[in-house]
Every structure is written in structure tokens, then in C-alpha cells.
Symmetry: C2
Subunit: 154 residues, 2 copies
DNA sequence: CCGTATCCATTCCGATACTG
DNA sequence: CAGTATCGGAATGGATACGG
């Protein structure tokens, strides 16, 4: 399957993976959420080569997940900031973090989790709630064309 | 950065991406959630070459996300079923689907979303809730070592 | 400090052919 | 049907050197 023929993909999961399914992308978003803005900050944090960081940042800007602005320190360079679309990825990051916390880490391993910034306490487990308010178990979730309203609230 | 040196990674997001960050993996989980179990079913659904599918299925079994069982139709082959660990990925899939629904699809494009199986209505937007019950905006979420309880509820 | 431009190694993936 | 074996091309990533 081609990584580039997904603009017509109908599955919302596949579609999102086409945009952010790359290894670095969500880590950049995570760092941006943590307040990193400068090229060098991302590079140090990620340990990625500069050329691939450049590519990823460009792609994220092209997708509207990051936006550039003149650097606030007066230097001639850019800052990279999350857009609303980028911030909307937070539930994805939280879901990933919670999953590995419960199912991947060994009990005594140190870990960095999604936490509430104010209290530094872990976020409550994300709950999947149906349109009528029922909490759904995993088996009750399907991927399908919805009955009526595609857009609006997801 | 190496895809294989992440067993000691402390960031929960990175850790999960190391396990499921590959393009095919979450699509297989999505299909398994939809009820697909047989090799050929996955192959037709994904359009992936058989050798690739073999590799991915093996990796998922090794990670404990899928498990094999003798085929229920009496044939000599295997079935692949989600484990509890695999079903726990549903919030990740829902988060991805909701994000692309709101931020990637064009308004009039058809789409397949996470829906409640009973009603075929979209799932409510996932909410990020702090330990004390406050709903958190994206900016209020950080990734950090938690104050005290790492395991247990995420 | 912020990128860009090359180069090279590796990985990945699709197609195909083959086996039980 | 359910895989395994092999091959070649493409994309990716890392290292490094270079330029504004």
C-alpha cells in the first residue's frame, strides 16, 4: 500500500495514520506541547539528524499542525508552534501514553506520562462514550459509516 | 533514532510508538476489532503483500496484541484474535479517527468513523480529565514523571 | 544558531514464485 | 487457503559537510 495514495481513503484511522503515522511526528507534537519551539530544541530533545528534522517540521507545517512565526528572541529564525489542529492531537498522545503505561512498561520502570500540568498527577483513563452517554467497552466500538452526521462533533 | 533501542525509553508516548508506530499495525488492530480473524481476510482488507502481513502478524503476536488459536472452521490454520492488550488500543483508534474526522477530511467526503456498534452513531469526543475530575484543555496536559503513582490507573 | 545539500546504509515493501 | 522464500526498487534515516 502506498503512503501517498491515501487522500481518498475513507477510513478515518487510515487517514490519520497517513498524516501522523510516522515515528517522529507525534514526538515533535509532544515536545511542542511541552513548550519547545526552536529548531535546536527539537533537535536536542529528539536526537534526530537535522535534515530529517527539517523534513518533518516542513511536513507538519504543510499539514497545518505546526505554524511558523518569527522567533521571539529577535534572531532571524523561525519558531514552530502548535496550531489548534496540532493541539487537537492531545487525546491521541494521551491514549498512547496510557496504553503503554498499562500494557508495555514493566512495573518498576520509570516513565514519563501524560499528566495534569497543575498537579502533576496522571490523567484519568480516556473513556469511550456513545452518543447516548453509555460507556462503551472495546468490543462495542466499530468502524463504519455513521448513521447520519459525519462532520460536526465527532 | 533506532527503532529497536526503545525498550529503555522513559517516555510513554515514544514507548508505545515503538510498539505500534508502524503503519500497518493499527490497521490490523482495527480490522481485528471489526471481527476479521483469518490471514486471508486481513490480506484482502489491507491489500498488503502476504509476506508483509506475515511479518506484522508475527510481531503483533510477539507483542501480545494478537493471539493465535486453531481456526474455528476446522481447517488446519490459525486464527488471530485480539487480546485484552490489543482491545485496550481502542481509545487510540478512536482518538485517531476523531482527529482526522474533524481536521483532515473535507466536509463532503465520505468517511468511516469509530461508531457505537449498537446505534451506528459516532462516539462522543474523548475528554481528557484530570485526577480531580477537571476537564483539561490541550495546553494543560504535560508529559512528565507523575507525582506519585506510576502504575495502576493511568 | 538554523538550516541545506550530499552521500551511504538500511529498512521496507510489492511482486512473484513456491510449498503443503 | 495459509503461509514461506527471494529479489529488486524505493523510501527512509543517519552522518557529515557546508552556507547564511
Amino acid at each position: 500500500m502506498k503512503r501517498s495514495s491515501m487522500e481518498n481513503e475513507v477510513c478515518a484511522v487510515a487517514r490519520s495514520l497517513d498524516v501522523i503515522g510516522d515515528w517522529w511526528t507525534l514526538l515533535i507534537v509532544r515536545d511542542a506541547l511541552a513548550g519547545l519551539r526552536r529548531f535546536g530544541e527539537f533537535q536536542r530533545s529528539l536526537g534526530a539528524a537535522k535534515n530529517i528534522l527539517t523534513t518533518r517540521l516542513r511536513a507538519l507545517v504543510a499539514q497545518g499542525i505546526l505554524e511558523t512565526a518569527p522567533a521571539s528572541d529577535g534572531s532571524a529564525y523561525q519558531e514552530y508552534r502548535l496550531t489548534a489542529k496540532g493541539r487537537a492531537l492531545v487525546p491521541v498522545l494521551v491514549a498512547l501514553g496510557q496504553w503503554s503505561n498499562e500494557h508495555v512498561f514493566l512495573p518498576e520502570q520509570e516513565r514519563i506520562l501524560p499528566v495534569d500540568r497543575a498537579q502533576r498527577l496522571p490523567i484519568q483513563p480516556l473513556q469511550v462514550v456513545a452518543a447516548d452517554g453509555r460507556r462503551l467497552a472495546p468490543e462495542e466500538v466499530h468502524f463504519d459509516a455513521p448513521q447520519r452526521p459525519p462532520a460536526g462533533l465527532s
